[in-house]
Symmetry: C2
Subunit: 329 residues, 2 copies
């Protein structure tokens, strides 16, 4: 989304939501990572749909296999953030007229790969013609109502944590789009982070089961934007004491005279989870993620003031509410 995030995507969603009648019982409010339908007995059907668009979401060199896989992964990531297991995937495809048989097979393979990686299956969909490649994915799941981790539960004093280090996709995208430089090995890691993103599903499920998480969101629009969204939903702010930058992103920043913080906070298409954890539950949550094969990194804490800033050593910076910008306007 290349428009200014504040007057752009947020405003668009607000405008549309303002036109909608509200379902009397809506277990998850508009604007969270997923939606839900109340099944009774404290159970909910969890639903998500998001699309990948060729010209704005597929960087140079990304194969249709990678694109199709990513279209699934980005939807699964929202399930991961809510701690809900995805059960079934549907796909609606818009295909340009010049698409080849091989491309279509690769799209099928990519959709299957993305689904199977996270234990689910494609169960249906539809195709039609479009002027650009459109891969619209929907995911269905089931959950106990109180187990779904919303964006809105962060409380002052909670620990702010993430499931991994940032900046690789931001650097990787710059490599793919421009004339930045990196050593062969760094380049390979950075570009791979763009082509083969992962959803933190085992981590998200473990965190939800640990019951220690008060709020959660994925970082698909960048760390800064995720903090802004979670802050607004929870009516809190954040202070960050540790900048979670990946080693390769740091090397890339130095080699190209870029700001490490920029890469870390204002990237996007990065599917880490950003969570808040009650202090007394920290050990349990950290352990749960470790047992799931991941890591939980403490990067700061929740504060009552609705501001977001970082204090690291003697440096203090405001984290602006800027989000990831897609490839073309």
């Amino acid at each position: 989304m290349k428009r200014d995030k504040i007057l752009g995507e947020r405003k668009i969603i607000e405008l549309i939501v303002s036109r909608l009648d509200r379902m009397p019982t809506m277990p998850i409010p508009f604007g969270d990572d997923v939606s839900a339908y109340d099944l009774g007995n404290e159970k909910v059907a969890v639903l998500k749909t998001d699309m990948l668009v060729g010209k704005t979401d597929i960087p140079p060199g990304m194969s249709v296999w990678n694109a199709a896989r990513k279209a699934v992964v980005m939807n699964i990531s929202d399930f991961a953030a809510k701690g809900v297991k995805p059960l079934a995937v549907l796909v609606s495809l818009g295909l340009p007229p010049d698409i080849t048989k091989k491309d279509i097979e690769q799209i099928g393979n990519g959709l299957n790969a993305g689904s199977r990686e996270y234990g689910t299956f494609v169960v249906g969909g539809d195709t039609g013609e479009a002027t650009d490649l459109i891969i619209s994915v929907m995911v269905f799941g089931l959950a106990q109502k109180e187990e779904v981790v919303l964006r809105s539960g962060a409380k002052p004093g909670d620990i702010l944590a993430v499931t991994g280090l940032f900046g690789k996709t931001s650097a990787g995208l710059r490599l793919l789009l421009g004339d930045h430089k990196a050593s062969k090995s760094v380049q390979s890691v950075l570009v791979d982070s763009v082509y083969m993103p992962s959803a933190r599903l085992p981590e998200g499920l473990a965190l939800a089961q640990s019951k220690g998480v008060s709020a959660s969101i994925d970082s698909s629009d960048g760390l800064a934007w995720s903090l802004r969204e979670m802050g607004q939903a929870s009516h809190v702010g954040f202070v960050i004491n540790y900048v979670p930058v990946a080693e390769e992103a740091k090397k890339f920043a130095i080699a190209n005279k870029l700001d490490v913080w920029d890469l870390t906070f204002y990237g996007g298409e990065e599917y880490e989870l950003v969570v808040t954890v009650k202090p007394e539950s920290w050990k349990k949550a950290e352990c749960a993620v470790k047992n799931a094969g991941g890591q939980l990194l403490r990067i700061g804490r929740v504060i009552a003031d609705k501001e977001i800033f970082a204090e690291v050593g003697r440096e203090r910076r405001n984290i602006e509410p800027r989000g990831y910008e897609h490839l073309i306007r």
Copy 2:
């Protein structure tokens, strides 16, 4: 879909499906109008997603309100064909950069209108940027497994029936796209059928509840194509004894020297239901639809030979497996 329907959309779906691992318990096979997830206890979650694409699906003069409403209606129509009540709607929007605030509000209003008309609500979605307007809708519902009416149950001897008359949208589209003529009153009916399609939800729910329907499909790709699809899924053929053409379509055909059969069988974006009914259940099914405010028109019968033809008076014609073609290649 402008490609040849046989080597086009069907082939594309076959190619993709051939690449997918099968979920061990798939209550509804690939290729039916909707998909499903087995909830146990004979219950299924019913899922559908299909997108509307600006350049191929929005004819001249159609407002974004109408387009957004139609994107919902075309998905609801598939639920109608299966006899399943839609419970929740999600929308993923791809918006061109030059879209206006007013357009966005109208899209919100149209999505709401389409959902509320059929007793459901929009509960969530996502937006992003695209080079063309994309409205991808998903619908969720619940059903008893054995109540979902598939395409595959038609048996030789069953009565073939439809919920309304055909040809209006086909004629309306020609009016909007070319230099065809029609009187003011006929024109208004034809164009309205394009801008304001209806899903036959009350009829579909009533038919499913009557238990007399052996197979069902909607006619969104044209009557001929629906018969082909239902014939293939059920391993049967059809003989048609009555050409269900709308009065206004007939007038349009005469005024423009067009073939009435062409308008009736090879139109599209028409959301009637095409069903087969066990002869002993005909009265019950007919009554059920009438009580729901609709009509059930007998147009022929199911035959064992896998061919589709019409015999009306002394005229006999094969119904070719041609489907509706979208606006542009």
